[in-house]
Symmetry: C2
């Protein structure tokens, strides 16, 4: 069995210590770094642009990287259940890893506000799913009240093991490129992931495994941009449900990352997000969830302002798979044409 890819805890053993018997993995990580070809050309980008396809993790988002470690550590600490609030991706990952470990998962999501695919994931993995009459920020308050119970482990990104696991995406980018990129663009919701990437790049830099550090460029959705605005947003509103967060847990940390890396946190509006979402699917053939496209929208916005120099290397985290949210894709596309089951009926509609 020597050649089985072992998942990120066993791959990055020195950074992710945990008892061997507690390791739970779905073979997360090892996701492709994917070069933009037609999108980069279409928008005349002067850069080399790469997408980290985090939607190809087992539950379809980057959350698996942190959840493998958080659930393993919860098991090691003899916890019986994991609990989280979620816009959908965290709950899918928590439910899946808990199932694999034989632990209970309790997930709390905002009612009517998470994507269909994500809800289906928490349910099919056997989590106890609660919908609060409120938004994500309220759901997070609810679960925090329970986190004092020693039988339960909170696996939101305020759990430090989550971010430790998520550093692995930065490790993989450096392995793929042979160095750090010039810029890393990333969507910002609860602001945990930008923090984790920065720590990951720094760790390798300190160990001499990359020569440089990237400027970290985080993008919030304009309707849910508390960090950009400088104050919490009571009713965050954006099509990008995964980053529809008004009071991020890692707020200060995101500001620190922006300052320390000589980067920034900015916003893109829903129109820019959806335009980038369609562009990457139609030009580069990759279907990401709307929140993921915030990072691409950010690249396109900065490119318009002449921000990049020729030949610079830019990586973008595409956080989750488009299949997480099929309804948005259908809304954003022309409807199918209905035809009779005859070749002639099809030919009528085609210009060949």
């Amino acid at each position: 069995m020597s050649n089985l890819y072992p998942g990120i805890i066993r791959k990055y053993r020195q950074y992710l210590p945990v008892a061997e018997a507690s390791i739970v993995t779905l073979h997360e990580g090892n996701t492709p770094l994917f070069e933009s070809v037609r999108l980069a050309k279409h928008y005349k980008l002067p850069i080399k642009l790469y997408f980290k396809l985090e939607g190809l993790n087992p539950t379809g988002s980057f959350k698996d990287r942190g959840m493998t470690y958080a659930v393993s550590k919860a098991h090691e600490a003899r916890s019986q259940a994991v609990i989280c609030a979620s816009t959908g991706n965290t709950s899918a990952a928590a439910a899946a890893y808990a199932a694999r470990m034989g632990m209970k998962a309790i997930v709390v999501v905002p009612q009517g506000k998470i994507a269909l695919g994500k809800l289906s994931q928490a349910q099919i993995h056997g989590a106890q799913v609660f919908q609060v009459k409120g938004n994500f920020d309220q759901a997070l308050e609810v679960v925090k009240e329970l986190a004092e119970n020693p039988k339960v482990t909170l696996v939101n990104s305020i759990n430090p093991h989550r971010l430790m696991g998520q550093e692995s995406a930065a490790f993989e980018i450096v392995e793929s490129l042979g160095d750090a990129p010039d810029f890393h663009f990333i969507p910002v919701g609860n602001a945990g992931n930008i923090t984790a990437y920065w720590r990951g790049f720094n760790r390798l830099h300190q160990e001499g495994k990359c020569k440089s550090l990237p400027k970290m460029c985080g993008f919030q959705a304009a309707g849910a941009a508390p960090i950009v605005l400088g104050h919490p947003v009571k009713n965050p509103d954006t099509v990008a449900s995964a980053i529809r967060i008004g009071n991020p847990a890692n707020w200060q940390s995101a500001l620190d990352v922006a300052r320390d890396s000589d980067g920034f946190i900015a916003a893109v509006d829903d129109e820019e997000i959806l335009s980038a979402y369609r562009a990457v699917a139609q030009l580069d053939g990759y279907f990401c969830e709307p929140a993921s496209a915030a990072s691409i929208a950010g690249v396109l916005k900065m490119a318009k302002q002449g921000f990049f120099q020729k030949g610079q290397i830019v990586t973008c985290t595409l956080t989750g798979h488009g299949l997480k949210d099929p309804d948005i894709a259908i809304q954003q596309s022309p409807p199918p044409v209905v035809i009779e089951p005859k070749g002639a009926a099809l030919l009528e509609h085609l210009k060949l």
Copy 2:
């Protein structure tokens, strides 16, 4: 850029010849081989059971392996468009690869009979989507009428390049295990994939890269089991939409594979399929589409009959990701509980 995983054409260059300028890849392949832990234990299976997680390909199914090569060869042949009939996974892959190459995709699906996620994929990648008033078999007849046009390449599995690409999954299994498994279990719809795996295992066997060959065990859904019944099924009916096919294109080939490998083609009913579908999600933490679970249902059925010997190595192809078909997962799960945004409201429902 030396460490970027290059996708299957460049990885298996000797088996998949095509002009370099025509290669189109979404970095498909390199999917995890995943050991069943809790499912195998729960059902007291005497075997080592592995799942090949083909849902972690870029468009969420194994179809990407064949499509990378079929679209590359279509481009090499100066085709302007690709066309296919599909139960959903083929059209998603065709649309994505055509988008990345800048070619047109024309996809024909049975109206109202494909999973939501799959429809959303063809649409967002910019394919021209046609819904025929009929089933898959009728959709295939429609596209065959157009395949004579030299500007258009048919990319259904009757296109030989599709199956050549799909052989790569067998290569990866042998690489992961260090040899072929004792048995390979696989869902059977159009019967192309079982054919491709068998060819792939044989190729490596002839080259001395594996010592043995697996017995190939294919499973149809009972309501769409023409090969098992020995005659086409006019109105195939099963929850497993990806294998809802009444007149498979590779029918004879599937029978040959079963005979030559000392395996068989059998059927599992929808109840067995859905039970396996829930079990792998709830016990092993992996969410596959219903059709994928036909292979697991087959393993469980054969195990009940005492088919396996202790310690045998069994691999199962899980063809597509569960996110392809979120509606089925939601139907198969208890509904979420709606609560007020207060910790006390949550506590009421939990036994901690």
